[in-house]
């Protein structure tokens, strides 16, 4: 599972940081850093974070692989 945050939309509310601190961290006062490759034991937390983000800036999903030739 991969995660990408639309950082133009993110306003640093940090809900994601509380819900999945192993994946999302604040760097300085409001710059969000995150680990794009989500470890399996974090899937549930990251899904919760995506749902909780007040500006819906977090997208989780699979990366392209099928059909690549």
């Amino acid at each position: 599972m991969r995660v990408v945050v639309d950082l133009t939309r993110c306003q640093g509310y940090a809900q994601c940081v509380f819900l999945a601190p192993d994946v999302f961290q604040l760097h300085g006062e409001e710059a969000l850093l995150y680990d794009p490759a989500v470890p399996e034991d974090q899937y549930e937390r990251v899904r919760q974070a995506a749902a909780a983000c007040p500006v819906q800036a977090i997208l989780v999903g699979e990366e392209v692989s099928a059909g690549v030739r």
Binding site: V4, L7, T8, C10, G28, D35, P36, A66
Partner: protein
């Protein structure tokens, strides 16, 4: 007719952010025909912004930034294959492996690449890098982890500044050279560039402005560089961060309006041919495009911004499968972010389209502020430093062409900030870094052209 448009053959060239999001949107909007995405990189679409931040810090692998799909676009992916030409009459994309792909409609999303150091023998020295792809990031991250004595960064635009920030955070000595008067000046103008310079120096960057690098030295391996002021920097890693070049060469014989500034298209993402006649089957999205925007007097904008690639891809996809009256314009206000030295810098609008600025909230001393940009009495842009939550308010002012200076909108507005200052946007040809927003038309009172390679 709209039924027909949802069938047929669509080819997307460029398998990155814009290409992936367009492919997804085509399916979301009901395209049932055949969809092929061609990309010359061997990797599936991945996200670039983390490369100069998380990845260089050593916190994530360069190959871990694969973009999540919103949905599977059920496309045929031709990865590791370069498009070498376009036959607009026969409606075929020519590929590097000698084959060709027929299409009914084409989306061009070939983006940009890093501008290389202009002297090939010097660029080939071991230890000289550029940063655009995951392969670049992997090599550079490895070299930074090896603990070089000093890193030289050429060009203090966003990418160069972010790299310098990472170096300091990793405890590495770093020298930054910039031909212009200060970092980020090409994107943010004079006042904020002074703050950027102060931030760099406060974090221990050896920042040298108003100088150019005249040559890179080394015998096989990079050892240092000579500067135009006669000094010499000894370093074992050099990152060339002199802006980007648009990937348009493959379209040289296509008859499209493709030149080093990008591919010109209309607000509906349809490409212009070289006579300025709009095509109806070739569309453009992302960093490779330039498009007219009514908020900026219909000048053609070239944006190297993540959000623009996403928004424009969405509009292009919609218009590729919708008949004329149902087509939509790409009118979103440009916006981007950068994080460096622990600060979060966000921008909305086009800061270079300005003659005056005012600090509307916060202050330079507090290192937290909103800078509002105006052009001839209306608000055209705003930049926040660690005040991202205010950005939406200013976006609305820009969209409604609100008067500049803006009315007091926030409680902590200071009296001193009410005096507008000149915005001090330089001619980009005098910078080492390319501006990441370029107005490719003109302002009546100013010459704005794309930066050329600098020596």
């Amino acid at each position: 007719m709209s039924g027909d448009l949802k069938e047929g053959r669509i080819v997307v060239v460029g398998a990155s952010l814009a290409g992936l999001r367009a492919a997804e949107a085509l399916r979301e909007k009901g395209f049932t025909g055949s969809l092929t995405v061609v990309g010359d990189e061997p990797h599936p679409p991945y996200d670039r912004p983390p490369l100069s931040k998380h990845v260089l810090l050593g916190n994530a692998s360069a190959y871990s930034t694969g973009l999540p799909m919103r949905r599977d676009p059920e496309a045929e992916w031709r990865l590791g294959v370069r498009a070498t030409g376009l036959d607009p009459v026969g409606k075929r994309v020519l590929l590097g492996d000698g084959s060709s792909l027929p299409f009914d409609r084409l989306l061009i999303a070939t983006g940009t690449r890093a501008r290389p150091w202009p002297v090939p023998e010097e660029a080939a020295l071991d230890g000289v890098f550029t940063l655009r792809t995951s392969d670049d990031a992997a090599r550079l991250a490895e070299r930074l982890s090896a603990g070089p004595r000093r890193v030289l960064v050429i060009g203090a635009g966003f990418t160069g500044s972010e790299i310098a920030s990472v170096c300091r955070e990793r405890g590495l000595e770093v020298t930054v050279t910039e031909r212009g008067p200060a970092p980020l000046v090409g994107a943010l103008g004079g006042t904020l560039s002074k703050l950027a310079a102060a931030m760099q120096r406060a974090h221990g960057v050896d920042l040298r402005c108003g100088v150019t690098v005249t040559s890179l030295r080394g015998n096989g391996r990079f050892t240092g560089a000579d500067l135009s002021d006669g000094t010499r920097v000894d370093a074992d890693v050099c990152v060339v961060a002199m802006g980007a070049v648009r990937n348009v060469e493959w379209l040289a014989d296509s008859g499209l309006a493709a030149d080093p500034r990008g591919i010109a298209c209309d607000a509906g993402c349809r490409a212009f041919d070289m006579y300025g006649i709009v095509t109806d089957d070739v569309f453009v999205a992302g960093d490779v495009s330039r498009f007219p925007h009514p908020l900026y007097e219909y000048q053609l904008l070239s944006l190297e911004h993540w959000r623009n690639a996403v928004d424009q891809a969405e509009v292009a996809a919609h218009n590729m499968i919708s008949p004329g009256p149902l087509r939509r314009p790409h009118l979103s206000v440009p916006t981007f972010w950068s994080s460096q030295f622990g600060y979060n810098i966000k921008s909305v609008g086009v800061p270079t389209f300005s003659d005056e600025v005012v600090i509307a909230q916060g202050s330079l001393e507090a290192r937290r502020l909103v800078m509002v940009y105006g052009y001839r009495g209306r608000v055209t842009a705003a930049v926040t430093v660690n005040m991202a939550k205010s950005l939406d308010y200013y976006e609305r002012l820009i969209e409604s062409a609100a008067p500049f200076p803006p009315p007091p909108g926030a409680a902590d507005r200071r009296a001193a900030a009410e005096v507008p200052l000149p915005s001090d946007v330089p001619d980009p040809s005098r910078l080492s870094h390319g501006p990441t927003v370029a107005l490719t038309g003109y302002l009546p009172d100013r010459r704005l052209v794309l930066a050329k390679p600098t020596g």
